[in-house]
Symmetry: C2
Subunit: 319 residues, 2 copies
């Protein structure tokens, strides 16, 4: 048994068995049993050391986030997560790093009930590719293309926390209270909670959805393009956490909330009459932040209805 | 649109549409429709530049092989290939490299009817992770664990070609005839043909199967362990191609055929009475190379039935 066999052993019992897994890790491929009348929902995301996380990041956070970003995609489709594969590339088999990584990955997997069913372990520059699979009743998946003029634009949770954590970097906060707030922001960045339960709840209610990985403006833009509509967002309605309010520079707030990525909240388009109904089903706050309108443009309005400058490509080009 | 958006465009129309893809590339996730009464078969393999191929490898061959190794796993389960995702990490968006890679990947995908349904493109050290999905009628997948005492051990195609190509390296062959033979071996190494049609044909006939990626000894060992049986292989029955016979050193032949990897043929265990029936269904030669026996050991016998030295871990430790 070489060191890479040892790594495989770390993962062979990471998640508890599921009845819909006929055969898991250990053969040429896994055998999965989707429920009758369901479609299979599949997404893949790669995290690269030095780009998506730093080489010296807490491995537990890396393991957690590698799965979280995929679960977030499944949630945005309204899917129930079921299975995932892990392609892990590491420079060497460092037992401490692997134990941490497996602990973080396993914690989120068990919390959301998704099973690790296969993968590949290779030697090279540190990176993680997860392919996550779930199911939706046939025809019930939520797509980006269903937004309708008159729909409310809503977001789950709060916006800007992860971007602010990134902005504040590793610098020490001054007071104890500030440290606690900063820690909350960092948790949002490093251990985002994918809106898995919300994903299942929004099926048959919302017309379109996307998860917020690149920032509200850039991600909502994808819905607008796919649905051939425009939108107006109200800057003063964007939900902010107490930690965000406490630690953000007032001049930067809007930029962080509109164009900051990594929050992994959901952006939803639905009939304004359906908001109250959906809110009751959710385990996370839902805030109406704007409307779908005719046209193609995405406008950001201030409290008096005046249009604010907005780069539609999100944080990449926002000035 | 940044350069990585451009890369995505390369792949968005790589494969023709399939009726069982409700939604392909371009949303948060793909939506797939497995046929009723089927299980979904999933496998993931990563190829890393500098380990599985060299940085200056022909990108067409890299694209082909990245998919081939996954299709080979599906074939070993008896699955019909349907969908795959591509996680591609590149240092930069080199249009020539990407065009070649997409051409090689697309050629094999179209040939085998598998559709690219999603993926992720990131910047970093060159690597490719493909997750391939297929289906089998429920309960009909071929596993490693079904080999029975008395079964014949058979292999498709010929063994040792890829290992010999690797052994001969990039050195120039002397004569023109040798060059043609060498080219055949190199094609086996760089563009392995996964036994997709054979995979579907072997369902309900064979008791156990595995694809030969690490070498006959090492891979058959997995079947023996999973099935709790032993095996005897006959060295003189191992099928060799004309190119292999022409260019291999007689002293190295057995090592290359028993412990050389990368052939991507299938190793099958089945009732000796079923061989003729299976042979008729296959588009590739099938050779009986041994028997499943009681016990746990894997023995290699010469033409007189004398046991030859064999390291069960294949090419990694074979001396």
């Amino acid at each position: 048994m070489d060191e890479f066999d040892l790594i495989r052993r770390y993962f062979s019992t990471l998640t508890p068995p599921r009845a819909d897994v006929a055969l898991g890790i250990g053969d040429d491929a896994a055998l999965l049993r989707p429920p009758r009348g369901h479609e299979v929902v599949v997404t893949t995301d790669t995290l690269i050391a030095g780009r998506h996380f730093s080489e010296d990041s807490d491995p537990q956070a890396v393991g957690w986030k590698a799965l979280a970003v995929n679960l977030s995609d499944l949630a945005a489709m309204g899917a129930e997560p079921r299975w995932f594969t892990l392609a892990l590339t590491v420079r060497m088999a460092d037992p401490d790093w692997l134990a941490g990584f497996a602990a973080g990955l396993g914690a989120l997997a068990r919390e959301t009930g998704i099973a690790l069913v296969g993968g590949d372990t290779t030697q090279g520059a540190l990176s993680i590719t997860i392919t996550a699979m779930g199911t939706v009743p046939a025809g019930k998946a939520v797509r980006r293309s269903g937004a309708q003029v008159g729909d409310a634009v809503c977001v789950t949770g709060t916006l800007g926390d992860a971007a602010l954590a990134l902005r504040l970097g590793q610098g020490e906060a001054r007071g104890e209270a500030q440290s606690a707030e900063l820690e909350r922001l960092r948790t949002r960045l490093h251990r985002p909670v994918p809106r898995v339960a919300a994903g299942a709840a929004l099926r048959s209610v919302v017309h379109a959805a996307i998860d917020l990985s690149d920032g509200l403006a850039g991600d909502l833009r994808h819905i607008l393009d796919a649905s051939d509509v425009g939108a107006e967002l109200h800057a003063h309605r964007l939900p902010a956490s107490p930690a965000f309010k406490a630690l953000s520079d007032p001049e930067e707030r809007l930029k962080l909330q509109v164009s900051g990525g990594d929050d992994y909240e959901l952006c939803l388009c639905l009939s304004p009459r359906a908001i109250a109904k959906l809110r009751k089903r959710l385990d996370v706050p839902l805030t109406e932040v704007g409307r779908i309108v005719k046209g193609k443009s995405l406008k950001l309005l201030d409290v008096r209805g005046k249009v604010l400058a907005l780069d539609p490509y999100g944080y990449r080009h926002f000035t």
